[in-house]
């Protein structure tokens, strides 16, 4: 065992990158849940985004187009969920599960020819001056564009929910869809838009996994990250700022356990690999005391009768 092989600066820097997929998925789901919809299909949308992004990046040679493709793939899949829950009025939990099962199957079908292929590399931004600051430079300013896109999304979602009219309407729909309908807001349209945004974010997160984090395509490569993202929204009490905190925490745990594995700690690898899931459960236990922040219409089916 050689703990001194762990470089704290690289560790912190890689936390930034490791937290990006989960951050993207969670911020998308946050919007979905704030609109009163519980989409348990994050895992399915993420892995679909992972393969769509991967295939398109390989096909075009451009990671940027790949990321767009991942987002579109996730959004398209999420529209199936929207169809089920908003049009066919199906149960949110069951539909979300269906989406995940379907997405897992779809992705492995699409990914058949891509096992073992290397994707085009995503360049790191070399930010002049800032990147050269000792300590902070490598930790904060030496990442690829998507890391910053994710952070910008969090900031954007935070500002939208807090200050904008659209954010107010979104919250209103999630709090009380009957009242929102009575005031003339298009509950179903707002929710479909939120679901599609959530799908695009999850897809983006998935594409980041397959194009940057791993980077290759393997079946089932999301390995529960989508579910952890769902837990993260609960952890964050449906607040954007705390999603960021939570994502760093989980990014930290997964990076740390990988580093410990690499350092050859005398704990079997499997027990280290368990740790993110166990910690998720622990965090859920600690955070579940405060349920009051959950949107009041979360998971309820809306039908504008008469």
């Amino acid at each position: 065992m050689d703990l001194s092989s762990i470089n704290p600066i690289l560790l912190l820097a890689s936390i930034m990158a490791a937290s990006t997929p989960i951050l993207l998925a969670a911020i998308g789901e946050l919007i979905v849940e704030r609109s009163g919809v519980l989409n348990l299909g994050v895992e399915g949308m993420m892995i679909t985004g992972a393969i769509c992004g991967f295939a398109i990046a390989v096909g075009t040679g451009s990671p940027a187009i790949g990321f767009i493709g991942g987002a579109v793939g996730g959004a398209l899949l999420s529209l199936l969920f929207a169809l089920l829950t908003q049009v066919a009025l199906a149960n949110h939990v069951a539909s979300g599960l269906a989406l995940t099962l379907f997405g897992l199957g779809l992705s492995s079908l699409l990914g058949q020819g891509y096992v073992g292929v290397k994707p085009p590399p995503t360049p790191k931004l070399d930010i002049p001056v800032l990147g050269d600051i000792p300590l902070l430079g490598p930790i904060l300013f030496s990442h690829d564009l998507m890391v910053y896109v994710a952070l910008a999304l969090v900031a954007g979602v935070w500002a939208m929910l807090k200050y904008s009219r659209a954010g107010l309407i979104l919250r209103a729909v999630g709090e009380n869809h009957d009242a929102a309908h009575a005031l003339g807001y298009k509950v179903v349209r707002v929710r479909i838009a939120a679901i599609a945004f959530g799908g695009a974010c999850a897809g983006l997160g998935g594409a980041y996994l397959s194009l940057v984090r791993v980077p290759q395509w393997t079946e089932g490569m999301t390995a529960g990250i989508g579910w952890i993202a769902l837990a993260l929204v609960v952890f964050a009490s449906w607040k954007a700022g705390r999603v960021l905190l939570g994502a760093w925490l989980f990014g930290g745990v997964s990076v740390l356990q990988l580093n410990l594995q690499a350092a050859g700690v005398a704990i079997p690898v499997e027990y280290l690999s368990m740790s993110p899931y166990v910690i998720t459960i622990l965090v859920l236990v600690i955070m579940s005391a405060d349920k009051s922040r959950a949107p009041a219409s979360l998971g309820r089916i809306f039908h504008a009768s008469q």
Partner: protein, 362 residues
């Protein structure tokens, strides 16, 4: 003109039965289109999946497989359906299945090579207890801390998978296995082997357990107060509390029972068809059982039929893989699609479609 959904005064009896069938038909059509897109003959592919295992040349081999694959699905789905009816969402059956298998196999390996009648019953008990205990974790956390059982039960699947790997590579590794991962093969240990009761029939103890579970669930839901309380809690939680139902006890019962049944299924699998604890022992029965439960309309008899149908797609899918080169993932997707269409068609049970014409000037 415009289509509009209109709530029915009461659920349509006709559509309760028709919607699963319609979902299967739509899935076949869309699935066929999918296979065509993959460059396969759609009719041949569908026929291979649904016809070949039952009436094809090698049906004598495949038919018993129907029971072998259907039993764990039905056993797990029966347990899940109780919770789903009550609005308690255990989606971690895969984990409970693994832990049940590990517990059962653990007992067998502990007694190896003792040849005694009680080894197998003890294994079954251990399997059920293991699954039960794994299912109780989300139940107790929900009760004590209000933790969401969906997320916890699911997280525990990943924990169980890692535990399975640790066991297959560590404590349960076959000491005579020349370093290969995986435990001793229980098929070679008569006291622990869950063999066919009638050779070649596919009828092992797991099938018997599944049958018992279907009958027991049928009686529980239709005739017993506990089953009534389960249904009431799912339909109207406030009314259930008013009626005197204790939601906590119900949570413990539903998650515990579904855990125990999933654990049993895992134990029957590891001591029978699979034979040994290995890294890739679990094949997703715990998740497919969710589809089975919904497709069976959360009704015991429906679940039995749906379980057999789903087993058919597994077997047919394998044949199609061999004969037509259809990718395994296509079958997985096919199963996901089935649940999708079912949920979509289900709207017709409670709503009716109405074609609205523009209001005519009176």
């Amino acid at each position: 003109m415009k289509l509009q959904l209109e709530k029915r005064p009461q659920p349509s009896r006709r559509w309760i039965y028709l919607s699963p069938l319609l979902a299967v038909v739509i899935t076949m059509l869309v699935g066929g289109a999918l296979f065509a897109a993959l460059g396969k003959n759609p009719v041949e592919a569908i026929a291979t999946i649904f016809w070949e295992p039952l009436f094809g040349e090698f049906a004598f081999y495949y038919r018993p497989q129907l029971l072998v694959k259907g039993a764990p699905l039905i056993l797990i789905a029966i347990g899940l359906s109780l919770g789903f009816r009550a609005g308690i969402w255990n989606i971690g059956a895969e984990g409970q299945y693994i832990i049940g298998a590990l517990s059962g196999a653990g007992v067998a390996l502990a007694f190896y090579p003792l040849d005694a009648w009680f080894v197998f019953p003890l294994m079954a008990l251990a399997g059920a207890l293991g699954g039960w205990a794994w299912g109780m974790i989300p139940a107790v956390l929900k009760l004590r801390f209000g933790t969401n059982e969906i997320l916890v039960s699911l997280m525990l699947v990943y924990v169980a998978e890692q535990l399975l790997a640790a066991m297959a590579l560590g404590p349960m590794k076959n000491p005579d296995g020349m370093g290969f991962p995986g435990s001793r093969n229980l098929q070679d240990y008569p006291a622990a082997h869950n063999a066919d009761l009638i050779t070649g029939s596919g009828l092992h103890w797991g099938v018997v357990a599944a049958l018992v579970a279907v009958i027991a669930a049928y009686i529980l839901l239709g005739r017993h107060m506990l089953g009534y309380q389960i249904r009431l809690s799912g339909e109207a939680p406030r009314a259930a509390r008013f009626a005197g139902v204790k939601p906590g006890l119900l949570t413990l019962f539903c998650l515990g029972t579904s855990g125990a049944l999933a654990g049993l299924a895992g134990m029957f699998e590891v001591s029978g068809p699979a034979g040994q604890v290995s890294i890739d022992f679990n094949v997703g029965y715990g998740f497919t059982a969710i589809i089975v439960a919904f497709l069976g309309r959360l009704h015991p008899v429906g679940i039995a039929l749906a379980g057999l149908l789903m087993a058919l797609t597994y077997i047919g899918g394998e044949i199609a893989q061999g004969n037509l080169g259809l990718p395994a993932a296509a079958i997985q997707m096919f199963q996901g699609m089935l649940l999708f269409f079912l949920l979509a068609v289900d709207v017709l049970t409670n709503y009716r479609l109405r074609l609205l014409r523009r209001p005519e000037a009176a």
